[in-house]
């Protein structure tokens, strides 16, 4: 695997319509049913769509209601908050790399597990506590090295599951 992606990870995400912040996680495991259940997704209300389509549901509202979840690479699942305010991706017994970038206040929090003094990331500028939007790209590169896959245009076009949380309603 190459050490660095061909294109800026953050530019690819924003180019696909990610806006108003970024709350997402790379979650260890391929068992999508267990992961979506752990995140509280309703088993009935789901559709399959690409990222740009999912972003039509993007709303910074105070109740977490819609997530987009699917395969990232062998052994890793990607999950993103689409409509909601706070994303809790902690799943017992799984390694999780949560990204929290709050657009309204311009703050990006360091990602637990992506440590700035880890020699695998010596060439990257990872925040040791809090950073801003500038820090996102290097953290996305770091998580790409761990999961064995960077975001690229094929990744953006892959369908994943857009689902509503159980009880998340109007």
């Amino acid at each position: 695997m190459r050490l660095s992606p061909e294109e800026s990870q953050w530019a690819l995400l924003t180019g696909a319509g990610v806006r108003g912040g970024f709350q997402a996680a790379w979650i260890e495991g391929d068992d999508l049913d267990a992961i979506t259940a752990g995140l509280g997704m309703d088993p009935e209300e789901r559709i399959e769509c690409d990222l740009a389509t999912a972003m039509r549901w993007r709303r910074p509202v105070h109740a977490p209601v819609v997530h987009w979840v699917g395969s990232h690479s062998p052994g890793w699942t990607f999950a993103m908050l689409v409509a909601g305010f706070e994303f809790d991706a902690a799943l017992p017994g799984r390694q999780v790399y949560p990204f929290t970038y709050l657009y309204e206040i311009g703050e990006f929090y360091s990602v637990p597990g992506l440590e700035w003094d880890d020699e695998r990331f010596a060439d990257l500028a990872l925040p040791d506590d809090m950073g801003d939007e500038e820090c996102l790209d290097d953290c996305l590169v770091a998580v790409g090295r761990i999961t064995g896959r960077f975001i690229d245009r094929a990744w953006l076009a892959e369908p994943r599951t857009l689902g509503r949380l159980t009880g998340g309603g109007w």
Partner: protein, 189 residues
């Protein structure tokens, strides 16, 4: 006051609507990739039984508005995609009010050739494309979280966009305008 009327109709916290050039709603439904035969005739109150801005389906209530103009109200799912209307060379004006979210969105307008967005706080910018229809409107003040809670500044912004749309199309969203039956269409996601 139009925003008040929307509240009475159950659209007080989320309202996404598009005024679209054209007298034939079935033709507009086709442009939006709906099956034109699929429209279910109903009144707004009946359509509102399906009201759900978080739904993973997309429903619009579409019908005649004024000579030369049709009107689509989003009943379920996210605000309408305007790209197919732009591609078809239709004029339109698109208004979104999201109370629990970011409030009143930028006005989206196409003159049939290019799409253009205007932030609600800049309703009085000299020379913006629909400036002639914004004359005499109240400035939005200082919209912020307290305005959203109080409903003041944000409701003014919504009223302003509704007025611009009414002046452009020649008809306001009155009680009467919302009382005529229209067609409820399911759009493909």
């Amino acid at each position: 006051m139009s925003a008040e009327l929307l509240r009475e109709r159950g659209l007080g916290w989320f309202f996404a609507a598009t005024w679209i050039e054209g007298d034939d709603p079935a033709e507009i439904a086709r442009l939006l990739r709906a099956d034109p035969e699929d429209g279910v005739p109903c009144e707004l109150a009946e359509a509102m039984r399906h009201f759900d801005p978080y739904a993973l389906t997309e429903l619009i209530w579409l019908g005649a508005h004024a000579p030369g103009w049709s009107h689509a109200v989003t009943i379920a799912g996210p605000p309408l995609r305007t790209a197919p209307l732009l591609a078809a060379g239709r004029k339109y004006v698109h208004v979104v009010w999201d109370g629990p979210g970011p409030g009143v969105h930028d006005l989206v307008h196409s003159d049939g050739v290019t799409e253009f967005r205007q932030p609600p706080a800049r309703v009085h910018d000299p020379g913006w494309r629909l400036h002639e229809y914004a004359e005499g409107l109240l400035p939005p003040g200082h919209p912020g979280v307290f305005d959203v809670l109080a409903g003041g500044g944000e409701r003014q912004c919504l009223d302003n966009w509704l007025t611009v749309a009414a002046r452009l199309t020649g008809r306001a969203l009155t009680e009467e305008a919302l009382s005529a039956p229209r067609l409820l269409y399911r759009l493909p996601i």
